[in-house]
């Protein structure tokens, strides 16, 4: 396999051809924040948190979908990037109704963790406060659209790993919503196998186990890696 040599944050690194900047960075211990990306799932480049500056002009590219190239120069931490990432989190917070203190995923939430890490101590934009429903028609699980950031991890894991494609996205822009099957209550879904992978994949408290109380919804994302390894390599590593 051909190898590409590039520079990330003044450090010379090599990475296999076809790898993304995100993979190359992580293999070399360089952290780039992500939300929509989840190991084992296809990449969609939706959240834009992994923006990096590429080339002398500092062109903005999403690290999760940009492949490495020979002599590429990448910067992952600049004042501009930090400001954009912070702004992305702030905009995500304004778009729905994220109230950490009473959320089932409090202390176990990737959005919350990133907000803390990126120094979001206040939000500079106006909140939209949309009126959104909670669907708890499913016997085991529930989805609260107030906490959804439209990362589509649930959509992809349902389609690509479980293989049933119960979830999808309807609408556009701020009207976009995760829907089950033909926009029907989750409990009426003829395709859902109740496997719970979407619950584990969800970075926030949007998809949760029924009956969860505040801060009780811990997610075990290692389970997803286990499933993939078992499926692809026929290895059951527990």
């Amino acid at each position: 396999m051909a190898v590409r040599t590039l520079t990330i944050n003044d450090k010379l690194v090599s990475s296999p051809e076809g790898a993304t900047i995100l993979q190359a960075a992580r293999e070399n211990g360089i952290d780039i924040p992500t939300l929509c990306q989840l190991d084992g799932l296809s990449t969609v480049g939706a959240c834009r948190l992994c923006l990096v500056e590429v080339g002398p002009a500092g062109r903005l590219q999403a690290a999760c979908v940009t492949q490495v190239a020979e002599e590429m120069v990448v910067r992952t931490e600049t004042p501009k990037l930090r400001e954009y990432r912070r702004m992305i989190i702030e905009l995500l917070l304004t778009e729905r109704n994220h109230v950490c203190s009473v959320c089932v995923a409090n202390h176990h939430c990737e959005l919350q963790d990133l907000a803390v890490k990126l120094g979001v101590d206040h939000v500079r934009f106006e909140y939209l406060h949309p009126h959104l429903p909670v669907d708890v028609s499913h016997e085991l699980f529930g989805i609260d659209h107030n906490r959804c950031i439209l990362c589509t991890r649930c959509v992809r894991i349902c389609d690509e790993i479980e293989g049933v494609h119960t979830w999808d996205v309807s609408g556009r822009g701020t009207n976009a919503r995760i829907i089950s099957d033909l926009n029907q209550p989750w409990g009426d879904s003829p395709t859902c196998t109740s496997c719970g992978k979407c619950v584990q994949a969800c970075p926030t408290g949007a998809v949760f186990r029924q009956g969860s109380t505040v801060a009780e919804m811990e997610k075990d994302r290692q389970r997803l890696r286990f499933l993939l390894t078992a499926r692809e390599k026929r290895e059951w590593l527990v």
Partner: protein, 477 residues
């Protein structure tokens, strides 16, 4: 000319409120109102939320007594799940509520009211606070702070955090007490008992010092309401409601809290966001009743713990059988701390608090549930209606402070009438009006405010609302 005096904000209480005193043409008090000028909207924005989240959301009603809301909420949810929760969960929840009564009562007595009682209502307002108390009587101040800390430590040992512990859940609790924490709490108990017994000694001495206050701070007949256990024993978590009158006669007994709407009405006044509940059979406003420590000691047959029962019989002798003056709330509060500590000791010795069977799991089996428990300030009701999926359709919260609303208004008017003589009003009289409110330990927004940060402003207005003079007390008093 009619004058209106406004005390805004009222200090050293939980939350924000103001008092209006109306003077008639002769300068005597025509009327007085206690306004709660905050609007929270919890009952509305809970609609549409899953039942399991309600405890966490409604706990945010209050930073001093979140435990009360947690318990009333999960008890309503238990009804909706239609489960009988494990015995260990009942004991752990009881332990949590007792800890909350200790810490909240300690805050009310030592931090907020002891400065008035021990330093004097007319003492220098710049020193009439917990810091002034700490320099005048360091042992009492320190003991009080440590006592509150003890209550908070029990809450933390059970729930993981002191404020808003998300540990109580529909069907039970989320975990047992660890043996290490139990041992630690047991070691802290003797000091707490000493502190409250010492404070009781001080309190008894004060009764002779303040006869005029005892006679004028909300001293009127009313009904008293609260939960009692079997045989009328003092109760804080379960049981049935009892109503007594100011002669000690039982007006109603064995009332099921779930049917509160059949005997409690809620009146709304345009000048306050606080609703005014009343006992329906007597109508509004004659159905005025009081809840909280004073009421609980009036309605119960006994406390069922040895030290506190001795104090109760002495208390009844001193107050003349039934305590009708709201001034005795402080005294009653200390006796409740004592019985709570004794009960905490009993529960900590119970092996069940370490049990691993602490949570019943169930789906939605009923569409309506009422949860009722005794908050430090009085009886608290949470009433939920859910849809088939368990999403909240309607919420009604009947808060202890609200139930004392009519009594607090009458107290303010009584103190004003007794102490105000014409338009020149000394600071100590304003402090007495506030202290009358403080006796109830009202929790208005259920948010703490920084102690001593709020200036007191008194406005004298004529009948047209024109400002005549403004009296201003400096911040820090």
């Amino acid at each position: 000319m009619t004058r209106r005096i406004v005390i805004d904000p009222v200090t050293r209480i939980e939350g924000h409120a103001k008092i209006s005193v109306f003077l008639d043409d002769c300068g005597s008090v025509a009327d007085a109102w206690f306004h709660v000028a905050e609007y929270r909207g919890f009952e509305k924005f809970c609609e549409g939320r899953p039942l399991a989240e309600m405890a966490g959301i409604t706990a945010r009603v209050c930073g001093i007594c979140p435990v009360s809301h947690l318990l009333a909420s999960v008890k309503a949810a238990d009804r909706i799940l239609a489960v009988s929760i494990p015995p260990a969960a009942v004991k752990l929840r009881r332990l949590l509520n007792l800890a909350q009564i200790v810490q909240s009562h300690a805050l009310s007595f030592f931090h907020l009211s002891a400065p008035d009682l021990l330093l004097g209502f007319d003492s220098d307002p710049t020193k009439r606070n917990i810091f002034g108390l700490a320099s005048a009587d360091p042992e009492t101040a320190r003991g009080g702070i440590r006592l509150r800390q003890f209550g908070q430590e029990i809450i933390e040992a059970l729930g993981g955090q002191k404020i808003h512990p998300a540990w109580v859940a529909p069907g039970g609790v989320r975990g047992p007490l660890s043996p290490e924490r139990r041992s630690y709490l047991q070691s802290r108990l003797p000091e707490a008992l000493d502190t409250v017994q010492r404070a009781l000694g001080l309190m008894k001495g004060l009764l002779d010092r303040y006869p005029e206050e005892a006679a004028s701070f909300g001293n009127f007949p009313s009904l008293f309401l609260g939960l009692v256990g079997p045989d009328g024993v003092w109760e804080h978590y379960d049981g049935l409601l009892r109503v007594t009158d100011s002669t000690g006669k039982i007006v109603a007994d064995g009332l099921d809290p779930a049917r509160y709407q059949e005997f409690l009405g809620e009146a709304v006044e345009s000048w306050s966001y606080l609703k005014s509940p009343y006992y329906q059979p007597l109508g509004y406003p004659d159905g005025i009743y009081r809840v909280g420590p004073l009421a609980r000691l009036n309605i119960c047959s006994r406390l069922d713990t040895p030290l506190a029962d001795r104090e109760l019989s002495e208390y009844r002798q001193r107050v003349g059988g039934v305590a009708v003056s709201s001034f005795y709330y402080h005294y009653a509060r200390l006796i409740e701390i004592l019985t709570s500590l004794e009960r905490i000791g009993r529960l900590l010795d119970d092996p069940d608090v370490l049990s691993l069977r602490y949570r019943a799991r169930a789906g939605i089996n009923q569409l309506e549930g009422v949860g009722c428990s005794e908050a430090p300030r009085g009886t608290l009701f949470h009433h939920y209606l859910v849809n088939e999926d368990g999403l909240i359709q309607k919420v009604n919260l009947l808060i202890a402070t609200g139930q004392n609303n009519l009594a607090m208004n009458r107290t303010v008017a009584q103190i004003a009438r007794h102490w105000i003589r014409g338009p020149d009003i000394p600071e100590g009289v304003f402090n007495r009006i506030e202290a009358g409110i403080r006796a109830f330990d009202p929790c208005l927004s259920c948010s703490t405010h920084a102690l001593g940060q709020m200036p007191l402003v008194i406005e004298l207005r004529n009948r047209h609302g024109e400002l005549l003079t403004t009296l201003r007390r400096k911040a820090g008093t």
